[in-house]
């Protein structure tokens, strides 16, 4: 029997590792990491290795279905009936046609990040004319990191420079150990960095996978990251006097003078922010060519430098006071700050490829954990500030920014803008990115997701279930009529309290969704369109690694095109072709082409032409040739898998080459806040404006207060498992087996000493009750969790009959979360992900 190996891209998560699939007689028998692929260098994770089980899942949807039971509910049988593609597309097309004159009634849930669908649906939404497009899956993840990164570093996400870093602090993330983009690449870099002596400090309520690899695990009370970061800043700036003064003077807004109302002192003629030049004792505009030594401490008649205000502000957070908030001992915080400050090596330089660069081998990284709080933006921002004041952004050893710059196949690089600050992040695709500077001017909402009154947020979908409850309250005179969605299980993964989410999905009269298997979201569909496995698909975007989340530093830039390893099963169609067909049926195909041409930079002769019809492979082939030259067509990618280019120093370490300053003081928060107050006043809403401040302040989450008052005993938090991705992961038998063999996965973690004091035994089943849900859980006792915390992993708790392996296992964390305005960050729209709970028998 002839064995053949086909190169393609893994689609079991958003990373997109290069893989080789072993084929015999058209059957896929095994998957290996591609050793020549720069993304994963031959490595694979358990999820990827289990991918064949998804391809050959007997419960996959292989034909369009329609619901015959008009009643909808979480546990209502839709009464599926198989139908033809013609009927399915006719039905969906006619529902879209019916709202053609009021297209904002369409909501597209476009988060399907393993392939092309999200960008194609993005173009569809724009051509159709709806603002309700969401390419964000989680109610927390990405809500702060992307907007912060675009205005404070220049790219999409951050990555510690493991090649040179000597001291790495992870806060609420299991970076390069159990999670994050370029996973299989950075895993090896992390192992190498630890082997060469990099100190790893993990600040997290749970001492999980990252904690177990750390030199030091520092348990922290959930929702207190702001206080930890501000106290670290206090020790560094005020007690130790360690900061990169040269960087702050010339590459940040630290010298911008701030007047008594918190706004910049501006030059009356030009409106530009002023600084005080200590060299000639004169006040000048920030970009005055004679400026030599902008002062960052002291005061002038015009105002005080923002850095001086920052120093004064953080002095409120002594380690002793902070210990009461975070539970981190003052001595531990001082020890970490001292080591971090020393490791940053302020003033040091290094030479790479003949170019002298600042060398700051210390950084703080954070991701999902700090974002998921009522005051999520300010939980995260001072963590970023720790890197900025050390001058450790986008330089060797510091924190790097993913996807920020490149020279091939196009040129892209971040740029400055308003007030000389970094404004336009780098992006290989000419698509707008979600930056929080300078923000948008608030207006009364037209959108059901209230985007207009979240002027600094990048994402808004968490508001949809709230407005669906009461449109009038928000001045909206319409609701969503039609929803299209990807196979992503948004009902279970994108919101919180299931009762609220159920009402939201029931409020939309017509829902059509793609499905690989029938998940809980699909249970609300009127029409299901089958979606191919990644091993049956062509995708120009094979995961996110090339575009936005590739390995940082001098590792090669690359692009891979996904190809199928097996024929598309009968009854399935390529999603790109389904989207084009729907666009044709509603009369927007030419507009859709225009937007696809823009999105993928397709110029003549490769641009899609009005009036023509294309297949998915034709579009991908055109795009490949347009980007990489005639010889690199789809066939070339099918033979070679991946194209790679070396990065030079300027692409790898953009900091010294950036013609813009980074922020340490968020003046625009005051401006947007004042504008918002006016709009909210006109709307007659109660609103919390406490986060519209230029310097972060720690404010408690509701769970913190509930535990303090003794109403509840624990705060529940979520953590990630390296072998589960998305809310479909554990329906794969191999992944389920891993979860079952590991008592931590489906169990709920609780501190062993606390549990024993309460009379709970390891493995015991008890009730876990949040303000909105009560569930039976199996306890797993461990020393590796903060005593006030309950830890819940993965994306479990399925009940859909279409997911028989996953059904009834583990806990769905999101369903425990109160879902109301009180629990939403008024800056980022993140839903608070720490929730007060009690445990009892």
């Amino acid at each position: 029997m002839a064995t053949e190996w086909i190169q393609t891209s893994c689609g079991m998560c958003y990373v997109g590792c290069g893989v080789r699939v072993q084929m015999e007689d058209g059957i896929a028998l095994g998957i290996e990491g591609d050793p020549n692929h720069p993304q994963n260098r031959g490595n694979m994770c358990a999820k990827g290795k289990a991918g064949l089980m998804n391809l050959y899942n007997p419960y996959r949807v292989k034909a369009p279905l329609k619901r015959t039971n008009p009643e909808k509910g979480l546990h209502v049988d839709p009464g599926w009936q198989e139908i033809s593609w013609a009927e399915a597309l006719d039905t969906v097309g006619s529902k879209l046609q019916a709202i053609r004159d009021n297209p904002k009634q369409l909501y597209i849930q476009g988060w399907e990040i393993t392939g092309d669908s999200h960008l194609w649906l993005h173009a569809f939404a724009s051509a159709f004319g709806t603002p309700h497009y969401s390419s964000n899956g989680s109610p927390t993840c990405g809500k702060v990191i992307h907007p912060v990164e675009f205005f404070a570093a220049g790219g999409f996400h951050q990555q510690p420079d493991l090649h040179y870093c000597n001291y790495c602090i992870l806060v609420g993330t299991q970076f390069a150990i159990a999670a994050r983009a370029s996973f299989n690449h950075i895993l090896r870099d992390m192992a190498d960095a630890r082997a060469r002596g990099m100190k790893l400090v993990v600040v997290d309520p749970i001492g999980g996978f990252a904690g177990s690899k750390a030199d030091q695990w520092v348990p922290i009370r959930p929702g207190t990251d702001t206080a930890f970061a501000l106290s670290m800043l206090h020790v560094l700036l005020n007690e130790l006097g360690i900061y990169d003064a040269e960087f702050l003077k010339h590459k940040s807004n630290a010298p911008y003078l701030v007047g008594p109302k918190g706004l910049y002192a501006r030059d009356p003629a030009s409106g530009k922010p002023m600084v005080f030049d200590a060299a000639d004792q004169k006040t000048k505009v920030y970009d005055d060519p004679t400026l030599k030594d902008p002062a960052i401490i002291g005061a002038s008649e015009a105002g005080r430098p923002s850095f001086e205000l920052l120093k004064e502000h953080v002095a409120k957070y002594s380690p002793e006071k902070t210990e009461e908030i975070t539970t981190i001992p003052a001595a531990t915080l001082r020890q970490i700050a001292k080591e971090f400050g020393a490791a940053a090596s302020i003033g040091a330089t290094t030479v790479i490829d003949g170019v002298e660069l600042p060398y700051r081998p210390a950084c703080v990284d954070w991701a999902k954990g700090p974002q998921g709080h009522k005051h999520g933006f300010h939980q995260c921002w001072p963590l970023k500030l720790l890197n900025i004041v050390m001058g450790a952004v986008s330089v060797p050893g510091g924190i790097l920014s993913t996807g920020a710059a490149g020279k091939k196949p196009f040129q892209w690089f971040p740029e400055g803008g308003t007030d000389g600050l970094l404004e336009k992040g780098g992006n290989i695709l000419p698509l707008p990115h979600p930056k929080a500077f300078p923000g948008r001017t608030p207006t009364k909402p037209v959108r059901n997701d209230l985007a207009e009154i979240f002027p600094l947020a990048p994402h808004f979908h968490t508001l949809l279930p709230l407005t669906a409850e009461d449109h009038e309250r928000y001045g909206l005179d319409y609701g969503l009529e039609v929803m299209l969605h990807t196979p992503t299980n948004s009902l279970l993964g994108s919101f919180g309290d299931l009762k609220v989410v159920e009402r939201f999905y029931r409020s939309i009269p017509f829902i059509a969704g793609f499905a690989v298997e029938i998940n809980e979201t699909n249970l609300f569909d009127d029409i299901i369109l089958p979606f191919p496995s990644y091993l049956e698909r062509f995708d120009f975007n094979a995961g996110t690694s090339s575009r936005q989340l590739g390995p940082c530093g001098q590792d090669d830039w690359f692009w891979q095109v996904r190809q199928p390893v097996v024929e598309l099963a009968p009854g399935l169609r390529h999603p790109q072709e389904v989207i084009m067909e729907l666009a044709r049926r509603v009369g927007i195909l030419d507009d859709f082409y225009r937007l696809i041409n823009h999105t993928f930079r397709l110029k003549e002769p490769y641009a899609l032409q009005p009036g023509r019809r294309y297949g998915a492979t034709e579009v991908i082939d055109r795009t490949a040739r347009c980007w990489f030259g005639e010889e690199h067509d789809l066939k070339w990618f099918q033979e070679h898998g991946v194209i790679r280019y070396e990065k030079d120093v300027e692409e790898a370490y953009i900091g010294p080459f950036l013609q813009a300053r980074l922020p340490i003081y968020l003046e625009h928060f005051l401006q947007r806040g004042a504008e918002l107050k006016e709009v909210i006043g006109q709307m007659g809403l109660d609103w919390d404006f406490s986060d519209y401040t230029p310097l972060s302040e720690w404010l408690p989450c509701p769970s913190y207060d509930a535990v303090k008052k003794g109403e509840y005993e624990f705060i529940a938090v979520h953590y990630k498992l390296p072998y589960v991705y998305g809310s479909f992961g554990n329906d794969n038998p191999l992944i389920n087996e891993l979860c079952e063999r590991n008592p931590y996965a489906y169990g709920v973690l609780v501190n062993a000493d606390v549990a024993k004091a309460k009379g709970f035994a390891d493995g015991e089943e008890v009730w876990l009750e949040s303000p909105v849900r009560k569930v039976k859980v199996k306890l797993k006792l461990t020393q590796c969790i903060h005593p006030e915390v309950v830890g819940i992993a993965g994306h479990f708790g399925h009940w859909s009959p279409g997911m028989p392996i996953a059904r009834g296992k583990g806990v769905n964390f999101n369903s425990l979360l109160p879902t109301d305005l009180e629990h939403i960050d008024k800056i980022s729209t993140a839903l608070d992900h720490c929730v007060e709970v009690r445990l009892y028998k």
């Binding site: 297209p103 904002k104 724009s126 990405g142 695709l429 300078p438």
Partner: protein, 112 residues
């Protein structure tokens, strides 16, 4: 399709006719897919946008422009199929006989 003529009705010879198409988020506030506009000869995209902002007021104007009057980074404008970023930005002239201008507000790519 709505029609929009600015100031006094102008002589055909002195005007350019522009067909504006709204895509993306802007459709939600404009409540119309297409609009026919007559502008004085020599008008630019900036003039057109100013006129549209005058017609539609807020929130349209605020969705289009930053506080300092710049176009937001998520607004994309094509004149006769050419992205104005490649043709001089808002000073791009509207000179054709029957110019087609597409004003598109793209949703942000969000991630996460």
């Amino acid at each position: 399709m709505a029609n929009l003529t600015f100031k006094e009705p102008m002589q055909q010879a002195n005007t350019v006719r522009v067909r504006v198409r709204f895509m993306g988020d802007l459709r939600a506030v404009v409540e119309s897919r297409d609009l026919n506009v007559s502008l004085p000869q020599g008008s630019s995209v900036g003039d057109l946008l100013g006129a549209l902002a005058g017609r539609y007021g807020d929130p349209f104007a605020k969705w289009l422009f930053t506080e300092s009057g710049e176009l937001h980074h998520y607004i994309l404008i094509f004149v006769n199929g050419e992205n104005i970023q490649d043709t001089g930005g808002v000073s791009t002239g509207l000179a054709g006989q029957e110019d087609q201008v597409e004003v598109i507000m793209l949703p942000m790519f969000e991630g996460g």
